[in-house]
Amino acid sequence: MTRIDVRKTYKLYIGGAFPRSESGRSYAVNDARGRFWANASHASRKDARDAVKAARAAFGGWSSRTAYNRGQVVYRIAEVLEDRREQFEAELRTAEGLTAAKARTYVEAAIDRLVWYAGWADKIAQVTGGANQVAGPYFNHSAPEPSGVIAVVAPSGPLLGLVSVIAPAIVTGNTTVVIASEPHPLTSITLAEVMATSDVPGGVVNILTGPQAEIAPWLASHMDVNGIDLTGVTDDELARNLEIEAAENLKRVRRPGVEDLLAPPALDRMTTFLETKTVWHPMGI
């Protein structure tokens, strides 16, 4: 007799826990060959709102950690991911039908991307901030601070795509609510398991699975979300509508565009969700 394998239930990742959608809904996910693979949770409006609440609750603690500490946590994600390379390579092959070589390229790029961003944690302020030479007896200094809770519509690449949007947002101190790749949600939840075991505090990364067009508007219009990354939105009409919703509380918006995620990133994924704070103080004796 062959052994019957134990299958995993794919759930959401909210506040460091893995709940099912409160709606009880799910949708079938097929592998690259079109065979049933598993059911993914179909997140609801309530799930999205719960995720924002968890992200807001985590923001104070995460943003006030030292940059050194945040860098180590992001580096830790890379370490744990490195340990599970084979699992992710296999998942990418199943999900997207990649060749072994391609799958390895993406997994390695995802790990290396995490390492790259981890190193930015305690350098970004030196590169984007500094002393301002004002014409008067004042100490004047600018430094970046995280914008707050960032909603992210992840691109379809379930691993490198997800890492490329999450790492730059959280390494600077933001917390995130991510809508995973709609066609390939399962790898995103596996990545959530990596996060959950990498000292990433609960609520810093929250991952929802389900239809982008249904969930994204709730996040775009949520008044306690400070920014939205539309990288994964390919429908221009949806992107436009999300931008309109986002304007209601002046969210910082990263507009979608065609990008080669394997190429070395620029700083703008971090700087889009950073605020510059300038502090003045008189000098005198």
Binding site: V127, T128, G130, N132, Q133, V134, A135, G136, Y138, N140, S142, S147, N226, D236, E237, A239, R240, N241, E243, I244, A246, A247, E248, N249, L250, R252, R255, A266, E275, T276, K277, T278, V279, W280, H281, P282
Partner: protein, 475 residues
């Protein structure tokens, strides 16, 4: 108390206001296609000039001129040469500073000591600062070969008409963009004088275009298909509308919007300095300042002392003729703004806050509002939540630094904040906790071209000033 001062008015003879003005498109003044409107002096209600209103056709002409100038001249010129034009403009502003200051005070209503000592010199400094960036952009940290956006559509407010023009035009030109700028409906005159300055500087035609008009003109500029970059300073409501209007386009947008800044006074603050800072924070420019310290958060243990000194200081403020060199508080910019300030103040009273103003004689003509404070204000009061944009201060007390942070951050805005304390560690901790783009500690309302300015949250996005101010004009 009660010092008598003889009037000391600045002479108006230095300015020459024409009876009517056209639009400045492609280096020359042309008639507008829309209806003309009047710009009046808010301190006397006299009509100063008739000004053209730019309609959609005019906007299109201006954008076309800007595009031509961008393609044929400005984007091809070396940064060093662009910089020289900006240096020229900075120098002409300095040369004509008295004229600009007097004109600004006449058209806007602000005291001459402010237009003379703050608005105009800071505007010149802004051009001087960005002139120096024009040939150094590859060192600015925005990539090895940063490129201009193209045509910038810029809409500015009435509170610092000439200074806001400088904040918009200087970085845009330095980065190689050409501009179409609309000054506010009630304060177009210094922008029109700036058009003359561009002519004197021999700035190539079309690099700067000035269109006068009201909301519809601004809307036409920001929604024009051939505008690549939108920069707006003004109310959060209009900023929101602009963000919606450009949604789905590839336009780069920077918005500098409203505020409801907390000015926080601790019990160890140097009280006399703090009182000066409170006065400067809310009564500078009649409180028509987006970063005004409109909420005074004072530690309970010193509240009585601070309030007593504040009231005493307020009774020495002189409200009146903007051109008088002794005037501290000038005219409210428009009848409309005065009505808004009155309405919100009446609501403050109706909601139970205690209203106080020093005894002061207001002129018979023009738009005036006395410096006013409200005590016993709570977070739920509308005067604690909404931007009044006038000389009205809401006083709130707190006990602990944590409570001060809670109260200060309890607003959808996040433009600026003030801290008054002698304890360095607490000041730095407070500065790190306040969700605001500019934090002044033991000072308030300081501006400098080298210092980035802009908000968190619903106070907008993007920064103006400093190296950061280049980002919005580069790709």
């Amino acid at each position: 108390m009660g010092f008598e001062y003889a009037p000391a008015p600045e002479s108006r003879s230095v300015v020459d206001i024409k009876s009517s003005y056209g639009l400045f498109i492609n280096g020359e003044f042309v008639d507008g296609s829309g209806k003309a409107f009047k710009s009046i002096s808010p301190s006397t209600e006299e009509v100063l000039a008739e000004v053209a209103e730019a309609d959609d056709h005019d906007v299109d002409q201006a954008v076309k001129a800007a595009r031509r100038a961008y393609n044929r001249v400005w984007s091809r010129m070396s940064g060093a040469e662009r910089g020289k034009y900006l240096f020229r403009i900075a120098r002409i502003i300095q040369e004509r500073s008295r004229e600009l200051a007097v004109l600004e005070s006449i058209d806007n209503g602000k005291p001459i000591k402010e237009s003379r000592d703050v608005d105009i010199p800071t505007a010149a400094a802004h051009f001087f600062y960005y002139a120096g960036w024009a040939d150094k952009l590859e060192y600015a940290g925005y990539g090895p070969d940063p490129q201009p956006m193209g045509v910038a559509g810029q809409v500015i407010p009435w509170n610092f008409p000439f200074l806001m023009l400088a904040w918009k035009i200087a970085p845009a030109l330095a980065c190689g963009n050409t501009v179409v700028l609309k000054p506010a409906e009630t304060t177009p005159l210094t922008a029109l004088l700036f058009a003359e300055i561009c002519q004197q500087a021999d700035l190539p035609p079309g690099v700067v275009n000035i269109l006068t008009g009201a909301g519809a003109t601004g809307q036409a500029i920001v929604s024009h298909d051939d505008v690549d970059k939108v920069a707006f300073t003004g109310s959060t409501d209009v900023g929101r509308a602009i963000a919606k209007a450009v949604a789905g386009s590839r336009k780069k947008v920077t918005l500098e919007l409203g505020g409801k800044a907390a000015n926080i006074v601790f019990d160890d603050a140097p009280v006399d300095q703090a009182v000066e800072g409170i006065v400067n924070g809310i009564f500078f420019n009649q409180g028509h300042v987006c970063c005004a310290g409109s909420r005074l958060l004072v530690q309970e243990s010193v509240a009585e002392e601070v309030l007593a000194k504040l009231k005493r200081r307020m009774s020495t403020l002189r409200v009146g003729d903007p051109l008088d060199k002794n005037t501290d508080i000038g005219a409210i910019n428009s009848a409309e703004q005065l009505a808004k300030i009155r309405e919100l103040s009446d609501i403050g009273e109706a909601e139970g806050a205690g209203r106080w103003s020093p005894k002061c004689d207001l002129p018979d003509h023009g738009f005036w509002f006395p410096p006013t404070i409200f005590t016993g204000v709570t977070a739920a009061h509308r005067i604690a939540r909404e931007e009044i944009f006038g000389p009205v201060l809401s006083v709130i007390t707190f006990r602990t630094p944590k409570e001060a942070v809670e109260k200060a951050n309890n607003t959808p805005y996040g433009l600026s904040a003030g801290i008054w304390s002698d304890k360095g560690s607490r000041t730095l901790w407070m500065a790190s906790q306040l969700r605001a783009g500019v934090v002044w500690s033991n000072t308030f309302n300081r501006f400098d071209p080298a210092s980035p300015f802009g908000g968190y949250k619903e106070s907008g996005y993007g920064r103006e000033g400093g190296r950061h101010g280049l980002e919005g004009y580069l790709k």
